[in-house]
Assembly symmetry: C2
Homo-oligomer: 244 residues x 2
DNA sequence: CGAGCGATTGATCATAATCAAGCGATGTGG
DNA sequence: CCACATCGCTTGATTATGATCAATCGCTCG
């Protein structure tokens, strides 16, 4: 098993892939690998997205900065996540993608994607599924920011990230990495860093999470999900590959 | 000019369409027209999206209801807007689409869409552009809910809706319909209905909007945009069709 | 050793939620 | 035709959630 099979693992939550399809994916990940330092941008607002970015290792985020300096993180990108293949249609990016840690990513040309999806319809469908889940996650963030309390927001986000990391094989024995700083979690949840700190402490106090440094452990996922009113349906993990 | 050419008008903000392409679009809108009463659902969470919904007239919204009754509107759908063609891949909808007014929509089969996009690459590209703009709008809502004050949120939303309606020909002399009730605007902006009411009054007091019943007038769009820190880039109206 | 970053804590403040009541227009059934 | 109910909007009073301000601490790194 390669260390860079995160995308493959994720897509297999939707549908079985043949060896040929996995091979085609693998080849895509090979071309033009780039290393980005923490706090650098993978793609900057205003520039044209020439390539599709696939995160091979490390964490990144989509974010937008307002004129007065306020910043909102609109998505976290973990290994196996990729920017939208169609984004290169647009004249200019309306937001940036920044590295939260050191990141390695593959810059894949749109043509390469189209070649592969043209040859492998099932892969094409799996990538469309991936895109739909990404959209559903974005909607769920809207729900969180609009309706949920600070406590629920943070708990919900941790549930989501934990399951997403699980899907790409980055959870071991209820533990995973959680690289974002509290300030970054604050920018994602629309809270202040102080409030994120207090909320994390409350989650710890209730025994729902163990968090030391960048390592998060969730001793009882069901309990955390229940505290967060987290419903995993929007991640659409119940398709061809698993059920039916 | 047909009264149902909203989608065509919108797509032409991205690229010129040939008569054949417009004709193909027109035919799509014809099949299987459905009428939905206000407060009814076009598509319900948990069900399978068999068809693509294209709004021909009236307003709808995507929304999600939490277990305890809280509701978040995650998107407004106005004439010319459509649900994601790929959504039928998913086993079940993770949210509902509800009518805010009486709505007429066209239920288009995925096969019909694929037939048309297969035959007209430019149309295919325009629809992908439409999808990207929808995703950008969703991100911008995340920014609003996470970072903007009540005043900015409401002002920003009004700017967005005004421009979107403008793009489909539903603005006349700085005036458009605004069917959502204040309670619905509250569910979209993550505010209480009381706060929306007070914010609208403040916008009126400052002369930024005129709002009576369901009619909204924006005497000075630039002024409102500036008050909202509204940057229209994310709507990506500057492509092939207009510039270059 | 000093600087800087991230996490933490306490005190105070502000924004917006909640609660409660009333108004005006619309619509409906007796 | 009128009495009454409902809905959407409006207003005032109070409360609460989370922001802001400010300081400290521990750790890492140069």
């Amino acid at each position: 098993v390669s260390t860079n099979d995160h995308l493959t693992r994720k897509l297999e939550h939707f549908t079985q892939l043949s060896p040929a399809e996995k091979d085609a994916l693998e080849k895509l990940m090979g071309e033009r690998v780039r290393r980005i330092a923490a706090r650098e941008d993978l793609l900057r607002e205003g520039s044209k997205a020439e390539y599709v970015c696939l995160i091979l290792s490390g964490w990144a985020c989509r974010y937008r900065t307002l004129e007065d300096g306020r910043r909102q993180i609109t998505a976290f990108l973990v290994p196996g996540d990729l920017s939208d293949p169609d984004e290169s249609i647009l004249r200019a990016m309306d937001h940036s993608i920044g590295a939260l840690t050191r990141v390695t990513c593959a810059d894949i040309s749109r043509e390469a994607i189209e070649r592969v999806t043209g040859a492998h319809p099932r892969l094409s469908k799996a990538l469309r599924w991936e895109r739909l889940v990404t959209a559903a996650i974005q909607r769920e963030w809207t729900v969180s920011l609009g309706q949920r309390s600070a406590f629920e927001r943070v708990a919900h986000l941790l549930c989501e990230l934990f399951l997403r990391l699980h899907a790409v094989g980055l959870v071991e024995a209820n533990r995973c990495e959680l690289p974002p700083t509290q300030a970054e979690l604050a920018e994602a949840t629309g809270l202040s860093a102080v409030q994120v700190n207090r909320t994390l402490q409350e989650l710890r106090r209730q025994g729902l999470i163990l968090l030391r440094g960048r390592e998060l452990a969730i001793p009882n996922l069901k309990a955390l999900q229940s505290a967060a009113q987290f419903n995993p349906n929007y991640l659409h993990r119940d398709h061809e590959g698993l059920a039916a």
